[in-house]
Structure formats: C-alpha cells, structure tokens
Amino acid sequence: MTAGGVTTHAGAWIRQNLFRNARDSILTVVFGALLAFLTYRALSFVLGEDWEIQRQNMRNSLVGPEISGTDLWAPVIGIWLIAAAVGVMIGALDRSQHADQPGAILDPLRPAHWRQIAYRTVARLWPVFALVVFILLLTGSTTGLLVTLAAMALAFLGRAAGVRLPLGSVRWAALATALAPIVAVLIIRFGFGIDWNDWGGFLLVAFAGAAGIALSFPLGIFLALGRRSKLPVMKGLSVAYIEFFRGVPLVVLLLIGSLVIGLFLPRSLIPSEPIRAVIIFTLFTAAYFAEVVRGGLQSLPEGQEEAAKALGLPAWRITSFIVLPQALRNVIPAIVGQSISLWKDTSLMFIIGLAEPLRLASAFTRQPEFRGQGLITLTLFFAGLIYWIVSFTMSRESQRLERKLGVGQR
C-alpha cells in the first residue's frame, strides 16, 4: 500500500519533472546520457587511477616539502587551535541564538544531542569530511587519523565550553576565533621558527588567503569611506587606487610584486617572496572589498547619517556606530564571495614560482619513480579538488547566511 503510494508519487514526479512533453523527454534523454557519461568518466578516473604518487607526496601537498619531522607539529597545533576556537564560537552562537529557549541549545556533552550535532555538522561540511576521509584512506596514516580525531574532539569540547559561556560572550568568542589563525601563524613562523620561504602547499595558500582577507578588509573599508567622501582629494586618491587595482590583472600585479617591488624599497626592507605575494593579494583585494563595502554604504538611507548628526554624534562615531555596522551586515555574502575569489586566486602563486599546490603537483611528476608517466593529470586533479572543496563549502555557507540574513529578500 505504502510502497504503491510512493511509486505513484515517484511516477508523478518523474512525469512532471522529466517527461512533460516530447521536447522535454528528448532533453531528459540527452542530458541524462551526458550526465551518466561524465559521472562514469569521473568515477573511473578517481577509482581507476593509481594514486601512489599522491599518496607518497601527501605531506608535500599539504604543507610543502620544507616542513618535516618535528616541524610538522606546527601546522597540527595550528589546526587544533583553530578547531577549538571555532567550536567555542559555534557553541556561543548557538546559545545566544536560542537565549529564550534554552532547550533548543545543542550541548555536546549530552549524548541525546550527539545525533543532531553529527547530522548538522555533516550536512554542512560533508565535502570537507569526504576529503579528509579520502586523504586518510589514501595515506593510511595512523598519526593523521589521530590528529584528525583530536581536532574533532577539540572542536566538540570547544562547543561544549561555548554553550556554557555567559550570554554576552559571543563577541569575545568571535574575536578568539578571528585571533586563532593569527596565533597559529605566529606559532608556526616564530614558535617553530619556520621561515616564510619554507611554507608550501595548502598551508601556504591558506595562510596567503587568510592573511590577504584579514589585512585587506580594513584597507577596503577605509577606501570605501574615502570614495564616498565629499572631499575631492580623499575621493580622488581612493578612486585612483581602486580603479588601478581593479583594472590590472592579478597575475600582472603578482609579477610586479615578484620582479619590481624590490626596486622600490631599501634592501633591508624587502620582504620575502611569500610575504610580497600576501602584500599584493592584500592591495588587490582591498580594491574589491572597497567596492563591496561601497555597495553596502549606498544601500543605507541617507537619513541614518543625518539622524546621527542631528543627535550631535561626532563624525567618526557616526561611521563606527551607525554607518559601518549596518553597511557591513548588508554585504556579508558579497564579502564571503570576495573571499572565495581570493582563495581561488592564491593558485596564481604558481606563476611567480612559489611552492603552491599546482607547482608542487607538477614537481611531484619529476621525481625519479614517477617521471614521465603522465601522472600530472592526477596530481593536478588532487590540487584542484582541494581548491574546489574549500570554495564550494564556503559558497554554500555564504548562501546559507544570505538566506538567514534575508539579504536577497530586500
């Protein structure tokens, strides 16, 4: 009975969505064949290839060839730190969002909530989990498994701590989450003394992307305010900056950073190549952030600023208390979008020869045991996969946020 009901239901769905009329049926057949073929090709590629080259080079892919031995604990500690901080923030957020109905708060220490927590986490982060499982299965590394489990446990405990924090501490938890990557970078760079030039693989691009976003954000806000200024000089300087950096390809800017910036600085002030790349990413992204923030500023009714003026608030207070909080909230999805762009753009470090994943992918194929076997498609695929999974996850989160903030509905 039920089965029959489902069948009819499914049949109706198929008729409605796949075979409404003759043209629709043809489309279904054509696209169905195409999808099936592509899925088959993709699966036979992933399952059919010998992943030995990637298995042996997994550490190189993730942190670069220069970090090995005990130094490997540096990125591991960084990941643990970030996992714990993110856990705390999620917990604190959960608590503040359900402040009026404490029963809805998910507490990791209550076994009854485990299923729900696991379900939600996997629903949101399944691509990342899939990747981690793939890597662990490929390398079969017990240490890797333990490190991953420890990171998950830390996030879990962090969340438990987060829901126990006093109500007003979301702000502090957010601050801690923002500081965690910075502390992680400092630990790796100074705690373990790993020189910038030795950073490689996804550690390098994650650092470059995160640092680029963090540093370009204040600069972008500053430029956006400058562009909206009534003072011609401020406006002119901001416009010139924004238009220059938006008009020139990032590749060219990176080449300039790599080949020309050294000429503009005294010798002792020239930063190392990865830092120069981060500076270029920052300057470049700031111009785009400026345009995003400008959009947010324009979406504010003029009356907001006038009302604040009429109350006698000084200009910088109007900006920081009234204008920016509203303008930024309006453009959060656009900010995430820009961050995804920057994350993808970190692959351009290939062109200035840094040990970024694409360059490493091709370097692996020059190793004696893998030389000249056409394995570059494999290693490139793996590098591309990580890029894809991170930006796909971020864009899903951004869409979720967009729906939550109701930005699209306005």
Binding site: S258, P266, I270, I352, G353, R366, P368, G372, I376
Partner: protein
C-alpha cells in the same frame, strides 16, 4: 565657487611644498650617507658571516642540478655548490638557506638581496654581467644548448628542421639562441612554444605537440635518461648551438663576497687536481708533506697559517672537501647519472676547461 578656488589653490600649494620637502629630504639622505641602505646591492661578506648562514638562490625542479625528492630532500650539482660555499664561509655545509627562484625572477632576487648568491644553472652573458647587475664568478659547468628529437625522426641536424615546432622553457636565452641557430642553418622556426614548466613540455612532447625540445644539453641529458619507455626513444642532435657557461653569481658591487664564493668554487677544482677527496682528505692532511697541499688545507706551519686575505677561515678548503667533496665527486654524484661525460668539464690536466688559479 570663489571659496572653492581658494581652497584648491591652498591644497595645491601645500602639496607642492610637501613633495618638495620630501624630495629635498631624500636628496639630503642620499648625499650624506652615501646611499647607505639603498645604494649597496647585496649584503656584505661581513654581515653574512655575522648572520651565521647565507641565502642561496636555486631551484627545485631540474634533475641533476637542483631537485627535490618525495621526502623533500634537495639534491643536485647546484645544491652541492651552495653547500660548498656554506662549508667555506661557516665551516658548516648546512648553514645555507635555500630560496627557490623562477627563471624570470632570479636576477631581481639577486638585485633585491633576497638571495646572497645565485647558484641556479644560470648562463654567464655580457648583458647579465652588465645590465642585470649580476657579477658572475668561476664557471662550474660548461654547457651548451642542444636539441632533443625522437629517435625515429628524420632530423639529423638543424638544417632538416625547417618549419618545425620547437618546445622550450620560457624566460631564458634559449629561444633567442634557437632563433639565431635556425637563421644560421638557413631555416625557419615553425613555432616556438615557450612553456612555464618542463613537466608541461614533456607531456606536450610525448603527445607529439612538438618536433624538438631545446634546452641546455645537460638538462636534455637528464630528461633523456629518465625518458618514459627508455632513453633509446630519443636522441640529442650533435649540434651545440650556444655557449652556456654556468656558475654562481653575486650582485655587482659586492667584491668581498664575490672573492669568497669564487675561491670556495676553486677549492673543489683544486682538490680534484691534487687528488684529494672527501674520503681521503683527513688522511692526506695527517700525512702529506707537499707544501702546496699543506698550505691548501690550512695546516699550521712554523711561520703560522697561510692566509690569502679572502676573509675566509684558514681551513675553508678542508671544510669544503670534507663536507662536500671535490669537483669530480660532485660531478659524479649528480651529473654522471644523467648520462653525461665529463667532456669539456674535465680538468685542464685532462684537456678540459676546469682550472683553478694557484692558491698561494
């Protein structure tokens, strides 16, 4: 409107003043301290010695010269010369910080001081000594550009390659030499495809995208040795159509460092001439009576230790040989596996070009 005009004029005036002040200030700076930071290109030998390690610009992707293996270890001819220099400067072949450079940015890295010494398979040319602000030192490897073609192709010399598609690495003199060589042979290049990455060339070549692959013969030999399906599938034409003396370089105006690096290189050559290797150096040091060798190894004599005033420790030759080896050893470890003979890179005593000035 009138007020605005005044305001604009005032702004312009202040800006002009400010820029003027800044410009004057800078003039004062550069005249008073003689350029100081900005004028000197590269760290001085003393500051490097104080630092305890030096930055060696190299690469990570050229088999035989400088490459990384899966465990992230560096190996290669250039890499060993970086270590030899470190052994000479600090008595420690590990006191070197490797900086991977691209073909396109290596001179900028040298100019900007990002690296102290460039040991990156770099050809000594007039314009590089001149316009690029580099100072080339003793040549460690005499190379020349060659052409790799398929074993079963009809090409016997460049003359046969009219209209051929040639793959090459971007950003080097390779393409300029290629065009010159084809012009001299009275033929035309069909297409020259400059790739960013040798791995891409190999893929493209295997697919039949190009008829020939031109690069330094040493590099081609390396690729041939590891050719998929065996080295017999490809051959290298006999013609050598360029002179490519490869050696370390420092930036112009850095004479102390230049001398030190140059003599670190000579140490390996002289050692081979003396027949000293990393294996027998201790024994020779203990037993040798030859004053040349004793002086070379920095042994204490009645009148003290010989110091040529290079700013290097007295036993730098010993350290180089002990920790890295002589020229022949370095060559054999790194270049011989590529299938290359010593050829012109033999000692002068064997009819080659490898020659170190007397150490006295």
């Amino acid at each position: 409107m009138k007020q605005f005009g005044k305001r604009a004029a005032l702004v312009a005036l202040m800006a002009a003043l400010a820029i003027g002040v800044a410009a004057c200030g800078d003039d004062d700076d550069s005249s008073s301290d003689g350029g100081g930071d900005t004028a000197s290109a590269g760290a001085s030998l003393q500051s490097i010695l104080d630092n305890g390690s030096f930055k060696c610009g190299t690469r990570d992707d050229l088999a035989g010269f400088a490459a990384l293996d899966a465990s992230g270890e560096r190996a290669g001819f250039d890499t060993e010369y970086c270590r030899a220099i470190a052994a000479a400067l600090f008595g420690d072949s590990e006191a070197v910080e490797f900086v991977d450079l691209q073909t396109a940015d290596r001179f900028t890295a040298l100019q900007s001081g990002e690296v102290d010494v460039l040991v990156r398979n770099t050809t000594w040319t007039g314009s590089r000594d001149g316009g690029e602000g580099a100072n080339f030192l003793a040549t460690t490897f005499y190379d020349g550009q060659g052409m790799l073609v398929s074993a079963d192709s009809d090409f016997q010399s460049l003359k046969d390659m009219d209209g051929a598609t040639i793959c090459l690495t971007e950003g080097t003199t390779t393409q300029l030499n290629l065009e010159d060589a084809f012009t001299n042979a009275g033929v035309n290049v069909g297409e020259a495809l400059p790739f960013a990455d040798p791995e891409l060339i190999q893929e493209a070549y295997n697919a039949g995208r190009c008829d020939g692959w031109t690069a330094d013969r040493s590099a081609l030999a390396g690729f041939r040795t590891n050719w998929p399906g065996g080295p017999e599938n490809v051959r290298i034409l006999d013609e050598t159509f360029s002179k490519e003396p490869l050696g370390p370089a420092v930036s112009d105006g850095n004479d102390d460092l230049a001398q030190a690096v140059e003599w670190a290189v000579f140490a390996t050559m002289q050692a081979e001439e003396f027949g000293i290797t990393s294996a027998n150096v201790d024994q020779i040091r203990d037993t040798s009576e030859d004053p040349n060798i004793r002086r070379f190894l920095g042994l204490e004599e009645e009148g003290g230790t010989f110091d040529p005033g290079l700013g290097l420790p007295a036993d730098f030759n010993y350290q180089v040989i002990k920790q890295v080896g002589n020229y022949g050893e370095i060559f054999e470890r790194n270049i011989t596996p590529l299938g290359l003979e010593r050829g012109v890179n033999a000692l002068w005593t064997d009819g080659g070009l490898i020659y170190a000035p007397p150490y006295r």
